[in-house]
Amino acid sequence: MTDPTTPQEQLGTLTMLVHRFEPGTDEVPRFVEYEVPYGQDTSVLDALCWIKDTLDPTLTFRWSCRMGVCGSCGFVVDGAPRLGCEQFVRDLGPGPVRIEPLANLSVERDLVVDLEPFMQSLTAVRPWLVPDPDDPVTEGSHTQTPEQMLAFHDYTMCIDCLLCYSACPQVGLSPDFLGPAAITAAVRYDRDSRDHGQRERLPVLDSQDGLWDCTFVGACSTACPKGVDPAAAIQQAKAAAARSWAAEFLLPRRGDRP
C-alpha cells in the first residue's frame, strides 16, 4: 500500500472530530479534534489509521479488509452511516467532520460498538439452510434454477456491517427489535427453494420484537453499501406473515396442501 499522505499526493488537511469513550474513565463520550492530511485515495479508514499510527495509538476502531467486503469499519461520518473504507476524505468537508460509532448500538470504546445483541438477533432467525426431512441431501443434490435464485440472490450480498442498524430509528427506540439485517437474513433463507425452515422462523419474525417493530422508514435500504434493500425484504416478510396468519385463521392445516 502506498502511503496516501506523501507530500506530492497531498490535497490538503481535514479537521476530524473523533468520538472517544474509555469505559471506566469517561462518564460520557467526548470528541477529540485531529488534523488529518489526505490525498486522492485517502479513505476515512486510512485517516483513522493515520491518527492511530502518528497521533494517538489508543484510538480504537474495527477494521479488516479495506475494500467493502468484511463489513467491520462502519462509522457514522457527519451523521450518515458509512463504511470507513468506502468514504473518501476528499469528498468530505469543509471540516470539522464528525466521526462517530454506529448509532443505536452501545459503545464499547471509542468507535467500537457492542455486536452481541445483533449476534443474538441473527442466530434467532436461523440463518442457514434447514433441510427437509422428507428430502435429505443424501438422496441427491438440490438443484436450483436461476429464476429460483433470483428470489433471494440480492439478500445474500449482506456483509453484516450494521449500517442499517445505525440508520434505523426503530432499532434505537426499541432495542430488542430484530433489526433490518437479521430479518433480511431470515427472508434470504425463507425464499431459498432448498430451505425448509419457514415454519421455525415465522414465530421469531411474527412477534413483538420481530417484523412489526418496523414502520417502513426505509433508511436501512438507503444506508446499505451492498444494495441489499432490507426495507423491501421486511415489507415482503410482513405481507407473507399476514398471509400465513390469514391462512391459519381461515383454512384447515394453515392452507397447506394435504
Binding site: 471506566g24 452501545s106 464499547e108 436461476p146 422508514v217 433508511a219 434493500d229 415482503q236
Partner: protein, 148 residues
C-alpha cells in the same frame, strides 16, 4: 495464596468473572430524532399526514351523525364547514392526502415484486399501476354518485 485470598484481594472491584471489564455505553435517543435527516423528515411527514387525514375523517363522521340526528343538526354541520378553521383544515387534509397517497405509491415497488423471466418488472410500472387503479376507482365513484 489460597483461592479465597485471591477473592479478598479483588473484593474492591466489581465482579467481572462473566462480563469481563466491558461497560458498554448506551447513547440516549434524542426526542427530535425524526428531524435529524432529510429522509427522516420525509418519513415523519408521511406518518403525520395520516393524522391530518384522520381528523378530516372525524369531521365526516360528525357529519354522518348529524344526518342521523335530523335537519337542524345537519344544517349546523353544513354551517360548520364554512368556518375558516374547518376550511383551512380541509385544504390541509387534501394536501396531506396527496402527500400520503403519492409517498405510499412510491413505496409500493418495495413490497410488490413481479418476476418476468430472470428479472423483476421495473419499479415505475408498479407505481404507475397504482395511479391507473386510483384513476379508475375515482371514475367509478364519480359515475356512481353522478356529476352534478
Amino acid at each position: 495464596m489460597r483461592a479465597d485470598e485471591v477473592g479478598s484481594v479483588r473484593s474492591d472491584r466489581p465482579d467481572t468473572s462473566t462480563t469481563g471489564h466491558r461497560q458498554p455505553y448506551r447513547r440516549p435517543v434524542a426526542r427530535t430524532w425524526f428531524l435529524a435527516t432529510h429522509e427522516l423528515r420525509v418519513y415523519a411527514l408521511r406518518e403525520f399526514s395520516s393524522v391530518v387525514v384522520g381528523l378530516f375523517v372525524l369531521n365526516l363522521l360528525i357529519g354522518l351523525v348529524s344526518v342521523h340526528r335530523g335537519v337542524d343538526a345537519w344544517r349546523w354541520w353544513v354551517e360548520l364547514q364554512r368556518h375558516p378553521v374547518v376550511v383551512v383544515m380541509t385544504v390541509v387534509a387534501l394536501l396531506m392526502a396527496v402527500v400520503h397517497a403519492t409517498t405510499w405509491f412510491q413505496a409500493t415497488p418495495k413490497i410488490i415484486k413481479v418476476r418476468r423471466g430472470r428479472r423483476y418488472v421495473a419499479d415505475v410500472w408498479v407505481v404507475l399501476q397504482h395511479y391507473v387503479l386510483l384513476a379508475l376507482f375515482a371514475l367509478v365513484v364519480v359515475l356512481w354518485i353522478g356529476v352534478p
